[in-house]
């Protein structure tokens, strides 16, 4: 009896979700410390970290939405298209109409996200159509629609918008001195604040609300969730609404970061979002996942991109290969860990 406990001791106490989360955080920390030690200069400044956040705020938001759909056992590959559509629509509204208003543009972004969520949610949850196909069509539609709205990419000149875009929130005590000894305060953009708030809200929802627990239940085992009295269809529907809404918000944050509308925006973002979710410990089979893990997934992904860039391997193919190698590593580790755990539980 005691032997059994000892053998599976550590594994038994930790759930799948937390185990994968721990692996992610450890690997991210190792990577970042490694970057500081071996690459020095850039990574030693806190601003490097904040720059990673600034550039990836939109990805964090969309990846969080993606995690929720994945926890519920579905998938949504339309998010990249929605981000592009949102930024194009907002750009056109702010630049080509008379008397544009910032708040209306935010409403447009939310509206597009919500509309996407409702349509895809209904098709997936109430008509039992495979989420992959539905969101594939959603992606096609969003990409095509973006070019129909406006073909040529352009920068937004609207004054209110540029003011909002250039708003910097300084982080106290994190600044650094440049070569001349001048103090440069560290800053983050508004998008980062939005992203962090969303991470906290979604984390709380997943952990402490009935809806959040329902997401896990439906993803883990649909049949037993149904028997426990969970409204499976409504839960699936809501997961898609959350995801698309996050894509809408992410789209606006992305738009705020780049300040332009283009059909080629956010190409491949859906794959980055899925990859970050997986690196963060979410499993595509559903039922396992964590929003904090997703946050670290995005951070790991972009840290490795930065390492590759600053190591002087600027030839474009290295980025793709290293990200893929890292993804491969994470997946294999996850697979081995889960298998070990199963074995430990059996004996």
């Amino acid at each position: 009896m005691d032997k059994k406990k000892l053998k599976g001791g550590i594994f038994n106490k930790v759930s799948d979700t937390n185990l994968l989360l721990a692996i992610t955080i450890v690997i991210f920390l190792l990577m970042y410390i490694g970057a500081i030690v071996f690459q020095g200069s850039g990574f030693r400044k806190p601003q490097m970290f904040f720059n990673i956040l600034n550039a990836n705020a939109a990805l964090i938001i969309t990846a969080c939405g993606m995690s929720i759909v994945m926890i519920t056992g579905g998938i949504d590959i339309s998010v990249g298209g929605v981000v592009a559509l949102v930024s194009m629509c907002c750009a056109v509204y702010l630049d080509k109409t008379s008397n544009p208003n910032i708040f209306v543009s935010i409403l447009i972004a939310l509206g597009i996200g919500l509309a996407y969520g409702i349509i895809q949610g209904i098709l997936v949850a109430y008509f039992d159509i495979q989420p992959f196909i539905v969101s594939l069509a959603g992606m096609f539609f969003a990409r095509g629609m973006t070019t129909i709205v406006n073909t040529a990419p352009f920068n937004v000149q609207n004054k209110d918008f540029t003011k909002l875009k250039n708003t910097r929130i300084t982080v106290p005590k994190m600044g650094s001195y440049n070569k001349k000894g001048m103090y440069i305060p560290a800053y983050v953009e508004i998008g980062v604040v939005v992203a962090l708030i969303i991470v906290v809200i979604l984390f709380l929802v997943l952990r402490y609300t009935k809806l959040g627990r329902n997401f896990y239940a439906v993803g883990g085992n649909q049949q037993s969730a149904l028997m426990l009295g969970v409204n499976v269809k409504r839960t699936k529907f809501l997961s898609h609404i959350v995801c698309s809404l996050m894509a809408g918000i992410g789209g606006y944050v992305y738009f705020l970061h780049v300040g332009s509308g283009a059909a080629s925006h956010a190409t491949g973002m859906e794959m980055n979002a899925i990859a970050s979710s997986i690196i963060g410990g979410t499993m595509l089979t559903g039922g396992v996942g964590n929003i904090i893990g997703t946050l670290f997934g995005v951070l790991s992904l972009s840290t490795i991109q930065n390492i590759v860039a600053s190591a002087g391997l600027d030839q474009a193919w290295w980025t793709g290969i290293t990200i893929a190698a890292m993804l491969c590593l994470f997946l294999v580790i996850q697979s081995i860990v889960i298998r070990q755990k199963k074995r430990a539980l059996k004996t």
């Binding site: 998938i75 098709l123 109430y126 008509f127 039992d128 159509i129 495979q130 992959f132 196909i133 539905v134 594939l136 069509a137 959603g138 992606m139 096609f140 539609f141 990409r143 095509g144 629609m145 070019t147 129909i148 073909t151 059909a263 794959m271 899925i274 990859a275 997986i278 499993m283 595509l284 089979t285 030839q315 474009a316 193919w317 290295w318 980025t319 793709g320 290969i321 990200i323 893929a324 190698a325 993804l327 491969c328 997946l331 294999v332 996850q334 697979s335 081995i336 298998r339």
Partner: protein, 357 residues
């Protein structure tokens, strides 16, 4: 009696793709009957070639049809899809060019026979398939995620194989595979597809591959209890898809005699998955009908060609495609079909007038 016949027809898996084909054909017939005209002309080299929209569809739908064969097997066996086929086409094509052109990107003559280059490409494609297959079957990673690795790295690897140069194959013989053999008016790609279909049909007929694949897809555990090795079956499915990818790469590269790493076969993985879904195969695995998938591939190409004919911009094409896809999938969903069936039943009996609601 009548009802049972209708049920038999609508219940057949080939019903959806064939209906879609007929629908598209009828729309084209109404708008422009000239769509179906096939004429015998001469191409730039002075060889007799068939031309017309139908030939275009048969010609350009062939890569998709070949991929659909492999994708159906992978879908059936693993219950997931391979999203790396586009990137793997780039890798296999790049390897082929590397063998043909050597280190020089502008050679005067090819450095190795085409067949050798093709075999190398096959090997590379199968290796990529084996990599995906190993991750899926041995490490039990979900297929879409496992193939995400090659999806991200594939085009980079392809560029790396040729040092980011774009070699051009000097031999005109190489362009026969994606074009026309002199003296034969039918596009060569049609023959390649036919060969693939025949080979696959023979494999399915004379081996237990199809049966085993379905068994694994429907219930892996009971398949194992019945003495089937699910790991091996999944692995084989991915390797076969790798082979299909190599053949598709041959056609793709041959069309241009060169390669563009970031653009070649872009988004083809989505179309290939779509072809499988349009063929009425469950994307969650299990029973499959390969020929329905192949037909689905041609439906997609038919749709694309039709849209091009209506002067739709190539960038905006996706939006129209999406609407059609949603409609097709919507009406083929079992729930909607049931609903329609009962609605028809309600309408047909005596109280037909009130049945509208």
């Amino acid at each position: 009696m009548f009802k049972s016949i209708v049920k038999k027809i609508t219940g057949n898996q080939l019903f959806i793709p064939i209906m879609a084909l007929i629908l598209l054909a009828v729309i084209n017939l109404i708008v422009d009957p000239g769509f179906f005209k096939v004429s015998l002309g001469k191409n730039n080299a002075g060889n007799p070639v068939l031309s017309g929209y139908l030939i275009t569809i048969l010609d350009y739908g062939s890569e998709l049809a070949i991929l659909a064969i492999g994708m159906t097997l992978v879908t059936a066996a693993s219950g997931g899809q391979d999203i790396s086929v586009g990137a793997t086409i780039a890798i296999a094509g790049s390897a082929m060019l590397r063998v043909l052109c050597g280190t020089n990107s502008r050679p005067d003559a090819i450095q190795a026979p085409i067949i050798v280059a093709f075999l190398v490409a096959c090997l590379v494609g199968m290796l990529c398939g084996a990599f995906n297959g190993a991750l899926v079957s041995f490490f039990k990673i979900q297929p879409m995620i496992a193939t995400l690795i090659l999806f991200t790295a594939g085009r980079s690897i392809a560029a790396w194989i040729n040092n980011n140069e774009l070699p051009i194959v000097p031999d005109p013989k190489f362009s026969y595979f994606g074009g026309f053999i002199p003296g034969v008016p039918i596009p060569t790609t049609v023959f390649i597809v036919l060969i693939c279909i025949v080979v696959m049909a023979l494999v399915l007929k004379f081996t237990n591959l199809g049966l085993y694949t379905q068994a694994v897809g429907i219930n892996e555990k009971s398949a194992r209890l019945n003495g089937i090795n699910p790991t091996l079956i999944k692995f084989i499915a991915f390797v076969i898809l790798g082979l299909c990818v190599a053949v598709a790469a041959l056609i793709k590269v041959s069309r241009l005699s060169t390669i563009n790493y970031s653009v070649i076969a872009k988004d083809i993985e989505m179309d290939a998955i779509l072809a499988v879904a349009l063929g009425g195969n469950a994307l969650s695995g299990g029973k499959f009908n390969m020929w329905a998938s192949v037909l689905g591939a041609y439906v997609i190409q038919f749709l694309t060609t039709t849209l091009y004919k209506f002067n739709v911009q190539s960038d905006a094409l996706a939006a129209y495609k999406a609407v059609v896809v949603i409609l097709l999938v919507f009406f083929s969903a079992p729930k909607v079909r049931e609903g329609l069936g009962s609605a028809v039943k309600k309408l047909t009996p005596k109280r037909a007038g009130k049945g509208e609601a």
